[in-house]
């Protein structure tokens, strides 16, 4: 812990790097940047800095290294699991000033963006300048950053077709914990950011590490054709046990861009039912209908047996399910008129769907927590991000504690089932590490020591040696 004088000196040095206006050690910023919207207890930083360029990030990192001050990289701070809290104090590096779209390659279909570029702004940029292209949007608010979401292995509305958002990463520019700027992927060799292959894939050093291995400043992501026509269908069944088979049949058709299951006790008509939203697009109405018919054919057995089927969805009602981003999801935070929710997003094999569903219902009902469950399918049924979302009233400490308890139990049970919590809270990271192959854990530790010898990067996260 630095003394006050040293901290003041660091603030002045940061101001010299980024300008007075873009650094603060005021109580207001320390308060707000010390917490997120989830249930994790606050952990305030000593100061917050807003760099505007890679060079500024580099200078900030070098300063932090010299002073042995922790750095906490931050995008929109919307993970909900407290990954941008300053668990050991230090400097929160808010990257949202770095929000430029650097380049778009129409032919090879990728965009190079600064890490703080928001999902909404890239979406709007592409709509205006490259209307035939789109990127995969997560179910996060539009302020969520491209960088943050890719680096936590996010997923989104094209994940059924193309996998995790980290699978859509072509390359990145990163400021290493020791201050060097490295380029990963084709951009390390070429002016083009077209792929991570065929090089040794060093992107893995930065994906899923919760900001403990460097600060990514730029990245290239894949873009995809934007269909002029889009459609959605909702398949409804009663029995969670049939869902893996349903998903297997639907994904086998390989026309869906997004496939997401949802189960919620409210409204009453949804309770006890398993819903699977299937979104697809086409270049013509005929193509849409053709794809719809293929999807229907895949689950014809269920329809003919009258045990499951598609919800009637007139065109105006479809808009609710095809709007991106879907603001309706955010409003789950207010189901208890309390402004809060957090979820365990468990990456799991689809086989575990029914067990995960039962787990969520059991935990939520036993603890009296308002809940919503669901699963985004990643790839052709390759795995799923099963979410257990629990709402709470931020003004009611007991309610927050109830939700926190539900999250902890869910994390534990998910690991026991064979899943892995995604963007896990620091305690859940420890639970994962406890279950991890020891050699893997040691490899993580060794890599971390190698890239961050002074241990300044987001300490408290992925602490392999605790």
């Amino acid at each position: 812990m630095k003394d006050h004088g040293a901290m003041q000196r660091i603030v002045r040095e940061l101001a010299a790097i980024v300008g007075d206006r873009h650094v603060s050690d005021a109580a207001e910023e320390r308060y707000l940047y010390g917490r997120d919207m989830g249930t994790m207890p606050p952990a305030p930083p000593d100061m917050v800095v807003l760099p505007g360029t890679t060079a500024e990030v580099q200078a900030v990192v070098r300063l932090a290294n010299r002073e042995r001050v922790p750095l906490v990289p931050m995008g929109a701070g919307l993970v909900l699991s407290g990954l941008t809290r300053a668990l050991a104090g230090g400097i929160v590096v808010d990257l949202k000033r770095m929000n430029r779209v650097v380049a778009v390659n129409d032919v090879s279909r990728y965009a190079v963006v600064e890490a703080g570029t928001s999902q909404g702004m890239l979406q709007a940029y592409l709509k205006k300048h490259h209307p035939t292209l789109k990127h995969s949007l997560p179910d996060a608010p539009p302020m969520a950053t491209i960088g943050g979401n890719v680096l936590i292995h996010g997923s989104g509305h094209m994940s059924c077709a193309y996998g995790f958002h980290s699978d859509m990463l072509n390359g990145l520019e990163v400021v290493l914990p020791t201050g060097e700027v490295a380029r990963i992927g084709s951009c390390a060799v070429s002016d083009y950011w077209f792929a991570r292959a065929p090089l040794p894939d060093l992107a893995g050093l930065f994906l899923g590490w919760a900001g403990t291995t460097g600060i990514v400043t730029r990245l290239a992501i894949k873009l995809f054709p934007r269909y002029p026509f889009n459609d959605v269908a909702i398949f409804v069944a009663d029995d969670p046990a049939v869902i893996p088979d349903v998903l297997g049949r639907l994904t086998a058709v390989q026309v869906a861009e997004d496939m997401t299951a949802w189960m919620t006790p409210k409204p009453a008509w949804a309770a006890g039912h398993q819903h699977v939203n299937i979104c697809w697009g086409g270049h013509s109405r005929e193509e849409l209908i053709c794809k719809r018919d293929l999807l229907r054919a895949a689950v014809r057995d269920y329809i003919q047996a009258r045990t499951a089927g598609f919800m009637p969805l007139p065109p105006p009602l479809k808009k609710r399910f095809t709007r991106l981003p879907d603001s309706q999801l955010t409003t789950f935070a207010d189901v208890r008129k309390g402004g809060g929710f957090e979820y365990v997003g468990a990456i799991m094999p689809v086989d575990l769907f029914a067990a995960a569903y039962r787990l969520g219902v059991r935990v939520a009902e036993a603890r009296g927590v308002a809940y919503s469950l669901g699963a985004r399918i990643i790839g052709a049924n390759h795995c799923m991000m099963f979410f257990f979302a629990y709402a709470f009233n931020r003004a009611d400490d007991a309610d927050v504690a109830r939700a926190q308890g539900a999250l902890e139990e869910t994390n534990r049970e998910v690991i026991a089932l064979g899943g892995i919590p995604w963007k896990a809270e620091a305690p859940a990271q420890q639970a994962i590490l406890a279950r991890m192959d020891p050699s893997t854990r040691e490899l993580m530790a060794r890599l971390r020591r190698a890239v961050d010898p002074n241990g300044i990067m987001n300490p408290g996260n992925w602490e392999t040696e605790r």
Partner: protein, 388 residues
């Protein structure tokens, strides 16, 4: 403070920072600062912390609160039904609590003191309040169809005065029978209310309403959308029951009364929607209807227009207090850059505050030779008179 019971319900999802089409940051204070604390959500959480004793009302805290431009982008974009409608009330209540506690930035204090002492923030003596109308042959209100309400910025800001003259002239040209209060006009209190000085606002509202009644005013045309907001939306709670119009609404109705424009060279313009007209009061069509009646004039919309417009940064008293700053990320400078991106050389608006803010920003941005900022009425008069 009022509305404290909903502070915790802000999730801080950040929809409030963006316009509906997400093209860029649309909260002036957050745009300029980029610290989460200056976003609407940040303000909500900080107010809660202050109420709970976790934070002091420091100078920075005050600045965070009072730099809100009350542009209502947050209320427009917040995704929580009903809750969203109260966001500006929450911020006003927070500012009111700071006013009550005597913890306000000096610039805010000076503004409120000037309005209290002089009836206007420019400290104009009554006689100078009519500078804008000199030579216009505008009678005092004496039972005409309309009262023309100028407001503080129209009377006190040099650019505002120019606009006021042209608005009055074009309305006269359209045959609108109207009078003014002249030296008897005082602040309408819109900014006082936005700054949380509810008592001062109530005093001004009651005073003005009494004055309107004494003179038999029934219908009012306002120069400024801020005055339009105060008189049409805030005064009814104090007994005001007048028919209030923004000047563009009257002009749009009576464009056919004006002598047929002679045309003039083709002119591409862009239009900046004032927050207190578009978002606060839902009027986005009247200015565009006027433009559509001007031969040769074509409108190039900015990426953010109508209810998605970026504020000029002058609302919530910021025109007077300058708490938002004038740096390259200030809303006004971003906005004039956005205007130039449309490829037009003329940026129109219909609010004296926006006009002054944007014209000043164009100069700061070194665009004064390339981008002309003017009021809609000024353009109409030019086109009517056949000059460009």
């Amino acid at each position: 403070m009022d509305h404290a019971e909903i502070l915790h319900r802000c999730f801080r999802c950040g929809y409030c920072k963006l316009p509906g089409n997400h093209v860029d940051l649309n909260c002036p204070a957050y745009l300029e600062s980029r610290f989460e604390t200056f976003s609407p959500g940040g303000r909500m959480w900080l107010l809660r912390a202050w109420r709970d004793g976790e934070l002091e009302a420091s100078e920075r805290f005050q600045r965070i609160l009072f730099s809100c431009a009350t542009c209502a982008n947050c209320t427009e974009q917040c995704v929580f039904p009903k809750f969203k409608d109260r966001l500006l009330d929450v911020f006003a209540a927070g500012k009111a609590a700071l006013v009550e506690a005597g913890r306000v930035p000096p610039a805010v204090r000076d503004y409120l003191t000037a309005v209290f002492d002089h009836g206007n923030p420019f400290k104009l003596p009554p006689k100078r309040r009519t500078l804008w109308a000199e030579g216009l042959d505008l009678p005092r209100f004496d039972g005409q169809a309309y009262l023309l309400w100028i407001g503080d910025v129209g009377a006190g800001d040099p650019r505002g005065r120019q606009m006021a003259r042209q608005v009055a002239r074009v309305l006269q040209r359209a045959g609108i029978q109207m009078g003014i209060l002249g030296p008897d006009e005082t602040s309408d209190g819109n900014e006082a209310a936005a700054l949380g000085e509810g008592e001062l606002f109530s005093h001004l509202a009651r005073q003005n309403i009494a004055r309107f009644r004494e003179r038999g005013v029934r219908r009012i045309i306002t120069l400024s959308p801020h005055g339009f907001n105060a008189l049409s939306r805030l005064y009814p709670a104090h007994g005001g029951d007048f028919a209030v119009f923004h000047y563009t609404q009257i002009l749009a109705r009576h464009m056919d009364r004006l002598a047929p424009p002679t045309g003039g060279p083709p002119l591409a313009v862009t239009f900046h929607d004032p927050c207190y007209l578009a978002r606060h009061n839902g009027e986005v069509q009247a200015p565009r209807r006027i433009l559509a009646r001007l031969p040769g004039v074509t409108l190039q919309e900015m990426d953010r227009s109508g209810k998605n417009a970026l504020c000029c940064g002058g609302g919530g008293g910021n025109y007077f207090t300058h708490l938002l700053g004038e740096g390259p990320d200030s809303a006004a400078r971003v906005r004039v850059r956005e205007a130039t991106a449309t490829g037009t050389a003329v940026m129109l608006t219909c609010c004296p505050t926006c006009l002054a803010m944007l014209e000043s920003a164009a100069v700061s941005q070194n665009l004064d030779g390339r981008l002309r900022v003017c009021d809609l009425a000024e353009l109409v008069m030019e086109r009517l008179d056949g000059c460009s």
